[in-house]
């Protein structure tokens, strides 16, 4: 049950586990020099405004991926594969496309989460492109 302050309470072993994880799994603090350098890099990038180029570059990258996928899906023999060859080509294409499902599929979700994954995916994609404007 959520506490009045909105935090999720943890008790006993769970609280101990989370505290152990927080202590063991955290980044090293930024050194003052690195912190200053990071801020400087951000300021320089903000001034350079490279985002105008990012849209076309993203388009090129997408086209490149699409071309690669199309190439992977086209059977090597232009005269058309016989039935067994076609089956092999399909199996190979499915194998080659496994990673596409991993990357662009339902975001590493378990079966029980797919139903609520789709709207968020659309939201993410929409936000990404809207932010490019």
């Amino acid at each position: 049950m959520t506490r009045r302050d909105g935090h999720e309470p943890l008790e006993g072993a769970d609280r101990e586990l989370v505290e152990q994880m927080k202590a063991a799994y955290r980044p090293e603090p930024l050194t003052p020099n690195r912190r200053a350098a990071l801020r400087l890099e951000i300021e320089e990038r903000a001034q350079r405004a490279p985002w105008r180029l990012r849209g076309p570059l993203l388009g090129l990258a997408t086209a490149g991926v699409a071309a690669t996928l199309a190439f992977a899906l086209v059977p090597g023999d232009s005269s058309g594969p016989s039935q067994p060859e076609g089956a092999v080509a399909v199996a190979r294409a499915e194998t080659e496309l496994d990673w596409v499902g991993e990357v662009f599929g339902p975001d590493e979700l378990g079966d029980d989460e797919i139903e609520d994954a789709l709207p968020d995916e659309y939201t993410l994609i929409a936000m990404y492109f809207l932010d490019e404007e």
Binding site: T2, D5, G6, H7, E8, L10, A13, D14, L17, V18, Q20, M21, K22, A24, Y25, R26, P27, E28, P29, L30, R35, L38, R39, L40, E41, I42, E43, E44, R45, A46, Q47, A49, W51, V65, W99, E102, V103, F104, D107, E108, L109, G110, E113, D116, A117, D120, T123, L124, M127, Y128, L130, D131
Partner: protein
């Protein structure tokens, strides 16, 4: 930096003052960089360079998009949403690069651990977190590791509070099981 620097005030962008005032970029950076880096680091798998890339992208994008901020949410929530989305983008493109075998050694390398037991504990925790779905990892990191409330996490992730609680419950259950046999190593 030579030449112009980012103006201290954001007034020139015509931004309506949000509920939480943003005095200047420097103050905003200083107030949020540590938490942003910690979130990014924990979401991209404990890689310092990747986390800094995500933080850089998020700050630059936030700066560029500040005029779109509508003030109907806390500025920090809006910014951390950008951080989380950038971390997602990084994870996706990393998978693409891995598929094409173009992840270089420096990017793949883990940062130097402080001691051997730290490295082991971190590996175990990273493996356990890696078994979570993307959303389970997001909510677990935000709520239990970064201390956001369920409502704040829901705002950051554009999800319903009930959905966040559901993912949180399942994430904790999975981690409890995954780390059951290695807690002594984490404690060491």
């Amino acid at each position: 930096m030579e030449g112009e620097t980012i103006p201290a005030s954001l007034d020139h962008l015509g931004v309506q003052a949000p509920d939480c005032a943003v005095p200047d970029f420097g103050a905003f950076f200083e107030a949020n960089v540590d938490r942003a880096r910690s979130i990014a680091w924990r979401l991209v798998g404990g890689n310092d360079a990747a986390a800094e890339d995500v933080v850089q992208d998020a700050f630059v994008k936030a700066y560029k998009s500040l005029h779109k901020f509508r003030g109907d949410a806390k500025l920090e929530s809006w910014f951390f949403r950008i951080v989380v989305n950038e971390a997602h983008n990084h994870r996706r493109w990393r998978k693409v690069r891995e598929a094409f075998g173009s992840v270089d050694a420096e990017e793949a390398a883990e940062p130097a651990p402080r001691k051997a037991s730290d490295s082991l504990a971190r590996e175990r925790i990273e493996a356990a977190l890696g078994e979570l779905s993307g959303k389970q990892r997001d909510v677990f990191v935000l709520v239990h590791m970064e201390g956001f409330t369920v409502r704040e996490a829901a705002g950051i992730l554009s999800s319903a509070e009930g959905t966040v609680k559901h993912h949180l419950h399942r994430a904790l259950g999975k981690l409890r099981a995954s780390l059951a046999n290695v807690r002594e190593e984490i404690l060491a």
